[in-house]
Amino acid sequence: MSNPLLSVSGLGISTVQDPRTLVNSVSFEIMPGEAVGVVGESGSGKTLTALSILGLLPRGVAIAGGSIIFNGTDLTKADPETMRNLRGSDISMVYQDPMTALNPVMKLGRQLLEVIESHEKLDDGSVARVEAALREVGIPQVERAMESYPHEFSGGMRQRVMIAMALLLSPKLLIADEPTTALDVTIQQQILALVSEQRRKRDMSMLWITHDLGVVANLVDRLIVMYAGNIVEAGTVQEIFTNPQHPYTHGLLSSLPSRTDKSRKRLTSIPGVPQKPWLVGNTCGFAPRCFKVTAECTASAPKLVGSLEKSVACFHPMGDK
């Protein structure tokens, strides 16, 4: 087995002032060519984890510990120029909201060319390269698109442009932060199809962030489930969906109505609301909502144990079926 492309270990993220933990000691690896999904609800720390890899954490939020080793370089310690060189070329990112992630006052062509400009020299072929990239993601009338502004495009088209931008320099790792959440289902499906097709073609690694289990079910190889700033469960898609170990994962899966289920039986719900990561402390963050909770759960935090195929952070896992 080859070395992991990205290896995150013990990553902690917190606010700078009155430090509040937002992500607590997260560790995972992505192998070359592998697609990993991160699933979690809002506030679970999934987006921050993704942003921290590229050093794009918002103001007032910073990495509090741990390391992010990409291709042998620790990104948490890299100098700004190294990071800049990495961004957009080796690692690129697609964002949640295609409405706001593109500069509204810059022509799309210009925004794509900027990627090349930042890493290579612009030359006569650059425009053609950009046009080819746009064509590849299914943008019609590429010449016109180059001269258009983001607002002249629909959400789906914008997200295609974002993907073209991200793929322009053939990155080794594509990070996608809920790129289809803002889109309609039919468009979402188009985008998912596009991304998985491109990934296969380029043998690219991918980190896909989402709150929608349905989206990643057929897209990624392995899945990480986050809750309240911690990874509660990780493993292959097959394992997690068919045999969830963590009560949270389990509850989540059974709370979703399925299209194959014809009984319309009452949905199982998880009582309560998601915990704030900084209130978790040294406990299991899911304990207040867990039906299997014991004193142990609030006395210390469970560690994530298991293999790459399947690991869980729980004192009372669901057990195999």
């Binding site: 609800e41 809002s42 629909s154 789906g156 088209m157 309609d184 289902v185 039919t186 468009i187 979402q188 499906q189 188009q190 998912l192 199809a193 998985s196 097709e197 709150h211 929608d212 289990l213 349905g214 989206v215 079910a217 057929n218 897209l219 898609v237 097959q238 969906f241 068919t242 949270y248 509850g251 989540l252 899966l253 709370s255 979703l256 109505p257 399925s258 299209r259 194959t260 289920d261 014809k262 319309r264 009452r266 949905l267 199982t268 719900s269 998880i270 009582p271 609301v273 998601p274 909502r289």
Partner: protein, 315 residues
């Protein structure tokens, strides 16, 4: 008692560009008391406009909407203690649908107070009753919206709608904005309320799974028109319209794993601009079944089996 939507059209004039947006293009549907109508469609299909028209927030450009035989319009003076309070709406975003400067208790009590629905000294009791009914701790009554979670807020919104003692509740994407783990609770609550209070629902969503879960009958909308209508089983199990089929195929489903066909493209292109509606069948530009006549003749809803209507000439 029933809600009768007859040939409703709604157009907006965009002054800046001098263009007309065709939001609803002739929608007819009837909702019987006690029934839950699910409306599904993608953004821009007119489902929210229809919801607002049903509660009187929008006046149709043509056609009529009647509840219990009486026309619903936006004249506020008629709404006071009138049949209109029998139709209430729950919005998608529980963050923007509560007045941030009003305590929960006041939000719920206001309609009761204004319309004198219960005696003054009974209002507190009634609010408690409503809070309990939607599964909230009555101790939350003095909180402000920003102190509640999304799920709690949506429950408050439901309680507020119920305070007007409605018969018909229009639910416009009521769980879309909620965290995944709390959606089920709210869905369950809605189902319980329907049973306990004998409510009629119009449940609007882009999420077929939710629609499927709660609806008795489902209407599929595309570009301001109903393209297919039928019982939930018929629509989900036996979709006929190519758009409905595509919608169902595109629905992400966690119960199917590692199936690469789930990532196949089922529908090309995007929804056309409602300013320039395609001629004929508005779906023809994206339809695999389209024949030349589809771009000329606009199909009307026709019954293909008992209670299953579809607007397509090729099925």
């Amino acid at each position: 008692m029933s809600l009768n939507i007859v040939n409703v059209e709604k157009r907006y004039l965009n002054r800046a560009s001098g263009t007309t947006i065709n939001a609803l293009n002739g929608v007819s549907i009837k909702v019987e008391v006690g029934q839950t109508l699910g409306i599904v469609g993608e953004s821009g299909c007119g489902k929210s406009t229809l919801a607002r028209a049903v509660v009187g927030l929008e006046v149709p450009s043509a056609g009529s909407i009647t509840w219990d035989g009486k026309v619903i319009d936006n004249k506020a003076k008629d709404r006071l203690k009138s049949h209109h309070s029998q139709v209430q709406l729950v919005f998608q975003d529980p963050y923007s649908s509560l007045n941030p400067r009003q305590q929960i208790e006041n939000s719920i009590a206001e309609a009761i107070e204004v319309h004198g629905l219960v005696a003054k000294d009974k209002i507190t009791d009634r609010v408690t009753e409503l809070l309990v009914m939607v599964g909230l701790d009555p101790d939350l009554r003095n909180r402000y919206p920003h102190q509640l979670s999304g799920g709690q807020r949506q429950r408050v919104c439901i309680a507020r709608a119920l305070s007007a003692e409605p018969k018909l509740l229009v639910l416009d994407e009521p769980v879309s904005a909620l965290d995944v783990s709390v959606r089920a609770e709210v869905m369950n609550l809605l189902i319980d309320l329907r049973k306990n209070l004998g409510l009629t629902y119009i449940f609007i969503s882009h999420d077929l799974a939710m629609i499927r879960y709660i609806s008795d009958v489902i209407a599929v909308m595309y570009l301001g028109k109903i393209v297919e209508f039928g019982t939930w089983e018929e629509i989900i199990e036996n979709p006929v319209h190519p758009y409905t089929k595509a919608l169902i195929a595109a629905m992400p489903d966690h119960s199917i794993i590692g199936d690469p066909t789930m990532l196949a493209r089922t529908l090309e292109g995007e929804v056309p601009d409602p300013v320039n509606l395609p001629s004929g069948c508005s779906f023809h530009s994206r339809c695999a079944l389209a024949v030349p006549s589809c771009s000329i003749i606009a199909p009307t809803l026709r019954e293909i089996s008992n209670g299953h209507l579809v607007a397509c000439s090729e099925v």
